[in-house]
């Protein structure tokens, strides 16, 4: 009898101890849920988080992977955050969105997590100015830059050399080179230029590149400024690329990754694309263009200047997170020069610190990054407004319909003016 009581006593003590220990462990471990898109190299991010958890054993990071395009990524966040859901702690947001997150109150302002205002200023001063400004809305730090991006002109080094060309500096020059090379190569499947005119976010940049090149502006101090003749000249330039046979007829079906695939398959002479494409061209599994790829500044309009479209992603802390302090600490680490360097070497993600572009390990891994800095520095942000999606739709939908030949440029411009006006009213 006595042994039985003893057994019961020991057993229950053990159970109690186990429960207590578990509860204790629950208290000291903070679980953070991080949401990123499918194209933001989840494999690489997992490794980063593993190294963070190794140094911070009290933090457990779960990764949730969303849509592969900026639009799908945002649709999910719109739904989760409209519902004030607390499950996500940290997420990546596109560089065009901080204004919307600030207006909706979805991102925790990060100013208070830097200790003092001098520490805050010191930390923010290291970032490239454009990325610091993109994430600061009315003095509030909405997000911290994760990586930068810009549009570049990719070209076939081998083909340009064969015909004795230097990379083109204007779009008409590019068209002439493409026609000469196409005629000389006798290859019906070789396109002159691949760019994006599908109704996707990237097509906003397709619209803006020639418009900006001519000195056009979209918004100034939240007010619509729209220069219709410059916009029309820009759309006409793209239409000419199709009419001259430099770009293919179904360009309205072409998205960012279509351009990447066509160029990678060796079927394109010139391509307009973001930084991520380079890694695929050089080391993609089935690449036909390894060691044949050159990267240059985008051409300008005749009489205009060369501009690029600014891209990139930023780490934000959810306003509904229950672990804001731990989340803020995590994203400060994710947005550090060390992490930026890792992302650059391993995934050809553009750094958000000028110093990292000149880092020897980085230039050894990606030689052209040294030349990329001036492009990234001159890249222009898309219009900043809480109603960005409406502005974006107005531009991309109308560019797409013009390139599909459904609308005349003048009709499209009237609709752009109407819809952008409605958005910023």
């Amino acid at each position: 009898m006595r042994t039985m009581f003893r057994t019961i006593f020991v057993l229950s003590a053990a159970i109690l101890l186990a429960v207590a220990e578990n509860a204790f462990a629950e208290q000291t471990t903070t679980r953070l849920k991080v949401y990123i898109g499918g194209q933001q190299r989840p494999d690489l991010m997992r490794e980063l988080f593993a190294s963070y958890m190794a140094v911070n054993p009290s933090i457990k990071i779960d990764l949730e992977i969303g849509g592969a395009t900026s639009d799908l990524h945002q649709k999910y966040l719109n739904m989760v955050l409209t519902a004030k859901d607390t499950t996500l702690d940290v997420f990546l947001i596109d560089v065009v969105r901080p204004a919307q997150f600030a207006a909706a109150g979805w991102a925790e302002p990060l100013n208070a997590y830097f200790g003092s205002s001098t520490a805050l200023e010191a930390a923010m001063s290291h970032y490239l100015p454009a990325y610091r400004e993109a994430n600061t809305i009315d003095g509030k730090i909405i997000a911290l830059p994760a990586f930068a991006d810009s549009m570049f002109l990719y070209y076939r080094k081998d083909l340009l050399k064969k015909y004795g060309f230097q990379p083109p500096t204007t779009w008409p020059e590019l068209a002439n080179m493409a026609r000469t090379i196409s005629a000389g190569e006798h290859n019906a499947t070789l396109q002159g230029l691949s760019f994006q005119a599908k109704a996707i976010e990237g097509t906003v940049c397709t619209f803006l590149l020639p418009y900006w090149s001519l000195g056009g502006e979209m918004l100034r101090d939240g007010k619509l400024t729209f220069d219709a003749p410059k916009a029309e000249a820009g759309l006409a330039m793209w239409r000419d690329m199709v009419n001259q046979g430099v770009a293919k007829k179904n360009v309205a079906e072409v998205g960012t990754d279509d351009t990447r695939k066509e160029f990678q398959a060796g079927r394109v002479i010139f391509a307009v694309n973001w930084g991520y494409a380079w890694n695929h061209f050089e080391s993609g599994a089935d690449t036909q263009v390894a060691n044949k790829v050159g990267v240059a500044k985008l051409p300008a309009m005749d009489g205009g200047k060369s501009v690029s479209c600014m891209g990139g992603w930023n780490w934000a802390v959810s306003a509904f997170s229950k672990n804001k302090a731990a989340s803020a600490a995590l994203i400060r680490w994710l947005s550090s020069p060390e992490t930026s360097k890792q992302l650059a070497i391993r995934g050809s993600f553009h750094p958000v610190f000028a110093s990292v572009y000149e880092d020897q390990d980085v230039t050894k891994a990606i030689p052209w990054f040294a030349d990329a800095l001036p492009v990234v520095l001159t890249a222009r942000p898309r219009p900043v407004t809480p109603m960005y999606k409406m502005v974006s739709d107005a531009l991309r939908i109308n560019t797409n319909t013009v390139m599909a030949g459904v609308k005349k440029p003048s009709e499209a411009l009237a609709e752009i003016e109407l819809r952008v006006g409605r958005a910023v009213r």
């Binding site: 207006a103 909706a104 109704a199 309205a252 079906e253 999606k389 599909a404 459904v406």
Partner: protein, 304 residues
């Protein structure tokens, strides 16, 4: 005394009371999952709720409805939705009836036919949209490939591959073809069930009277199938009015082939304009209700 009576009624309820008691959980359930969302939708449609602007919610009366009536994009979406409805509902009925007749024929591999009928029905709508978007792709699509082959074999026809998604009307055509393919098997399943309830003796008697196959179809099969057809048509029309997945996966030029459901999604999920999108959804709700009402009148009328 009264209290006593109440307790008695609960312990030993009459038929009617018992019926109500048993129905209560179901009624509460329906109120929660049907009535509450619909009412909240209607309430929201009278407010200005624009989350991405960070402005306070305010009552605006019928402003959202008036805005919709003056919105060209709304009317284009309604037009596209009605085109899809008027093309794909009869289309699916005709194709579905053919498939049902085929699956009802007494032959050896009938089981196989019936099984393959389920395939399009079992596929998620978005998959069908994505598959057909590839079929109609101007470079890699199977339709243009066929056209190219025919054009090479018979140049005199003058056929040319099309950039389907560069043209609003060709895009609508592609959407309708995908929708008919996807939905006719559901039609066929319901019609097949209807076909099997028609007694064989009717056909035997008709055979004795010397009626032709066509006469049998027109005089026996069709009239007796009408109840099944109406049920199938109600479901099919309602889903056609709500068309989203297939047109969403097959975007034509710009927003030229946008449907009402897509426009509601754009305003709610993308623009976070919950007041305006609620008003649009109320329009769609009324459209669905009106359709159901017409069909139900017809079902009752048919019975009398």
């Amino acid at each position: 005394m009264q209290k006593r009576a109440l307790i008695d009624r609960i312990i030993d309820p009459s038929e009617t009371t018992l019926a109500w008691l048993l129905l209560t959980p179901a009624i509460v359930f329906i109120l929660l999952i049907v009535a509450y969302p619909v009412l909240s939708l209607i309430v929201n449609s009278f407010f200005d709720i624009r989350l991405s602007r960070g402005v306070p919610v305010r009552f605006v009366g019928f402003e959202n409805y008036l805005a919709a009536l003056n919105d060209a994009m709304f009317w284009r979406a309604v037009k596209n939705t009605l085109i899809i409805t008027f093309v794909t509902v009869p289309g699916a009925l005709v194709v579905g009836l053919g498939l049902a007749m085929l699956a009802n024929m007494p032959f050896k591999y009938r089981g196989l036919i019936r099984l393959s009928l389920l395939l399009p029905w079992a596929l998620p709508l978005a998959f069908v949209g994505l598959i057909f978007a590839w079929f109609f792709h101007s470079e890699y699509g199977i339709f243009n490939d066929i056209i190219r082959r025919i054009a090479t074999l018979m140049p005199s026809l003058g056929w040319e591959p099309q950039i389907w998604f560069n043209s609003p009307s060709l895009t609508m055509m592609a959407i309708c073809i995908a929708t008919v393919w996807k939905t006719s098997s559901f039609m066929a399943l319901i019609l097949l069930a209807g076909l099997q309830t028609i007694p064989a003796s009717l056909y035997e008697a008709a055979e004795v009277d010397g009626a032709s196959r066509w006469t049998q179809f027109v005089e026996i099969t069709l009239p007796l199938l009408i109840p099944s057809m109406l049920i199938a048509l109600i479901f099919r029309t309602l889903t056609a009015i709500q068309s989203f997945d297939i047109p969403f996966s097959m975007p034509g030029p710009g927003e030229e082939a946008q449907t009402l459901a897509m426009y509601i999604q754009l305003n709610s999920v993308d623009y976070l304009d919950l007041g305006y999108s609620s008003a649009l959804a109320v329009f769609m709700f009324m459209l669905s209700m009106a359709t159901t009402f017409v069909y139900l009148r017809y079902v009752r009328g048919g019975r009398d």
